[in-house]
Symmetry: C2
């Protein structure tokens, strides 16, 4: 067993099931080892940003790390933007980056680069493996470090002679430290705040908008009247009918200020104090009203689900029915395309169990409100603000949950960043319906430019257009193996989305705006 | 004049004419300033890797830096892979990266990242601008640092409050230090080597395969019989009929060893000792034969052109006619597509003054040999081995030299990395003919896998395929606004290439392999 096989077999023994990859020559022994590690599924991507975003989506849906396989510093570089988003999603990912053979590196060949320097800004754990005998163990350490709560990006650099050298077999899985609970006195303090009569919001960060954490939060809301909130950039929210309703803090600063104005107390569970997405010359950075008490129940690295359960206990809410969203059927709208109409149409069609990936930026502003009472579904958004995450996230989610249909809502500007993901969707025959909102502009920038109040000149305005040329997203999608359709009415949109999601195959709908 | 305008107007005053950009909200004041700096042309790109690769191509053709405009750490991250290639090409580029307002950054909003950490591995000069009053001067320093021989990547981080604050007008351009010449004794030593009768190769790196440097090298070759060589990864070569012939050192280690076997002396001009592209378990890293004397005439930072002129003087060759390639007409081949036939067809059609960008990897192995005696043209290749450079490089070359047709030779795997470049080609109506060699595999990896001699399994072999799905490059190109055609015979290829290059518009030819 060479180092490559020792590493991959060790990761598989540690529970890693998927490797999102775009390998190169320095990784060829790792590619070759794939056939000898049957528990590890290799998923090919034509661009590394697809692989890193897919690993994020996979982790959001499973709570488990996938590994990735990248080609030296430049391959890793292409993955970084979506690793930034994955860092902000606080998910586990184990990156494997091939490097030149150790004896070759001193000659500074063309592909040599400072891989550790490139990895460092987005890696919480980082190592260059020194020997083939140690690389399996290194992989296990990377895996354990990635799984430390709430989830971390780790990067293991594997020189090619470490991959081809004689390995030491399958390493022993390492224990993952449990996330600590807050002290009982902190729980009591939170309970007292929730009983003091002041209007309170509970901001649910770091994977507490799902599972038992969300249920506990719903119980707390039911007995205290506190409102459940989520940061604008959250990783995954279980929502819809029969789920505790959680309000997302809006992107638009004025809207966020208005939403939070009522609160005298904010309890943070694995979240930071709400702040604006960008700083602005005249708008505040902090979104909570003056005098609002900010109380941190748990840091992101602590056990938010456990803390919420203890808090529910402290409030005698452990047997209360959680506050739940009532189901509301939404009538399918008809007529000309409007953003409001599209959001309603999505709500009218969305099947139970769907996974929604929303990177529709300006076009999707009303989407979460419209779908709040749709059948239960998961909602994933861009956590780090680096666009080009949506289609990769959908890949990862679809591979993580093959029995669930994925709806990927994409702005055209975002879509063009990582459109190579369509090819992987076709190759793996994934149940992803991608909706492209073709408004032909970087709409968010257009609004920012207008907000300057400076009467911007034509070159500035044009520089934010995504046309001309007018991209034909239908033809583009089909060229990559994904059937597509363009719709110009709401009824056509709804039926295209329904057919697409029922097909359980990759498909794309261009919404002409 | 705000900081944004002060910065851009200063760069324009310093000679910067083009800004390749994919901006975001933190750069919105820089976008807005474009209209007030008429000397600076903004070229929009749908992905940052297109912008950084285009800046490389522009610099290779003009010797001058373009600037780029990127959105925080993630936008810069997307640019890194082609900045790696630009580092290896030793070209000047001035990156401008917008950051959060300084007062907003402490709140750690979603897009906050360690921009300096991300920039450092690929930046020879790096600064975060502290005030609007200083940012113009910072830009001038970045520009001067970029222009220091032979050309460097510099990165200036501009917080948005620095962009919108009151600037200090147009800064004074700073002097660029001249590249030093080697000592006269080193020139004499080189001249003695060239006279000692031992078989000698002169390896021309760092921009010495063009202009006066190449002419001087041709004179030296004429009087000494030395052979002119270029590293496999060179930035730009002026070649073809009536140009001094320079032999590229091959990628394949065995071929490189065979090529260099005859030499007893290698004189390096801005180049490193020839080494293999990758290390290998049983093949050598160093390519020169045992006992071959390696003599460094100039380091990359020194004046290679000046050194070659002095060396020609020392050899009394300053008035000699340089060794020149004889023109040879190549008959257009006919019949079924072969790689050899395609290379001949390119040679038969290539117009005088063409700029060839070659990222055809395995499919283009015979291209340089076939075109060695074609009408004079420039040849640009991938310098850092990070694929996805070709189409962006073509963008930059076409903008740098609008009167010259660009031929961009692309492997399908490489093409898929930065296909967004087609959109910019269409938007700017650039005279680029892109040839996609559609062999549907990462051919270079397939051969590496086969070379392991381990009888690789089906999953490994399949993981290197780029089909299924079969990408339709014609449809893909047209969806992005670039007319395209698929050819299945050599005569159709030649006529499609001729028509494409004569059209002086963007177009694409898919070569079905």
């Amino acid at each position: 067993m060479n180092g490559a096989e020792s590493l991959l077999a060790s990761l598989a023994a540690g529970g890693v099931e998927v490797c999102f990859m775009n390998p190169g020559t320095t990784e060829i022994h790792l590619v070759e080892a794939l056939d000898r590690v049957p528990g590890l599924r290799g998923v090919g991507c034509l661009f590394e940003g697809v692989a890193s975003g897919a690993a994020d989506g996979y982790a959001r849906m499973t709570g488990k790390p996938a590994c990735t396989l990248f080609h030296l510093g430049p391959g890793l570089s292409n993955a970084l933007a979506n690793l930034h988003n994955a860092c902000r999603a606080r998910v586990p990912v184990v990156n494997i980056v091939g490097d030149h053979a150790t004896f070759h590196l001193p000659f500074d060949p063309p592909l040599a680069s400072d891989i550790e320097g490139i990895a460092r800004p987005f890696s919480k754990w980082l190592r260059s493996s020194g020997t083939a005998g140690a690389v399996g163990r290194d992989g296990m350490e990377a895996l354990a470090a990635a799984q430390a709560a709430p989830g971390r990006i780790t990067t293991l650099v594997v020189p090619s002679d470490v991959a081809w050298g004689e390995g030491a077999g399958i390493a022993t899985p390492l224990p993952v430290p449990r996330a600590p609970l807050p002290s009982q006195s902190l729980i009591e303090e939170a309970a007292q705040l929730l009983r003091n009569g002041a209007r309170t919001g509970i901001v649910l960060g770091s994977h507490t908008t799902q599972g038992s954490a969300l249920t506990a939060a719903g119980r707390i809301a039911a007995v205290t009247g506190a409102k459940l909130l989520a940061p604008f950039a959250f990783a995954r929210m279980e929502r819809g009918a029969c789920r505790p309703p959680v309000e997302r803090i809006p992107y638009i600063t004025e809207q966020a200020l208005a939403q939070l104005a009522e609160f005298r107390q904010l309890i943070l569970v694995g979240a930071s104090e709400p702040v604006a997405f960008f700083g602005h010359p005249t708008k505040p950075s902090r979104l909570a009203p003056d005098g609002c008490k900010i109380f941190t129940l748990t840091a992101p690295e602590e056990d938010g689900a456990g803390a919420l359960a203890l808090l529910a206990d402290a409030l005698d809410a452990e047997n209360t029915n959680p506050l739940l969203q009532r189901a509301e059927a939404v009538e399918a709208p008809r007529g000309a395309i409007t953003l409001d109409g599209i959001a309603k149409a999505v709500a009218s069609v969305l099947p139970e169990g769907a996974i929604v990936v929303d990177e529709s930026i300006t076009s999707g502003r009303g989407m979460m409100a419209a779908t709040r009472a749709a059948p239960p579904h998961d909602y994933l958004v861009n956590t780090g603000g680096s666009i080009g995450l949506g289609t990769p996230l959908a890949i990862g989610a679809a591979i993580a949950a093959p029995d669930r249909p994925v709806l990927c809502l994409e702005g055209d500007g975002s879509f063009m960043y990582t459109l190579q993901a369509l090819w992987t969707a076709a190759r793996e025959n994934l149940a992803i319906t991608t909706i492209v909102f073709a408004n032909r502009i970087y709409g968010i920038l257009k609004s920012e430019l207008a907000a300057l109040g400076t009467n911007p000149g034509p070159r500035a305005v044009e520089s934010l257009d995504i046309a001309p040329p007018v991209i034909d997203f239908v033809v583009l999608s089909e060229s990559l193996g994904v059937p597509a359709i363009r719709v110009t009415t709401l009824e056509d949109f709804a039926s295209a989305m329904r057919r697409g999601m029922e097909s359980r195959k990759p498909n794309l709908v261009e919404v002409a705006l």
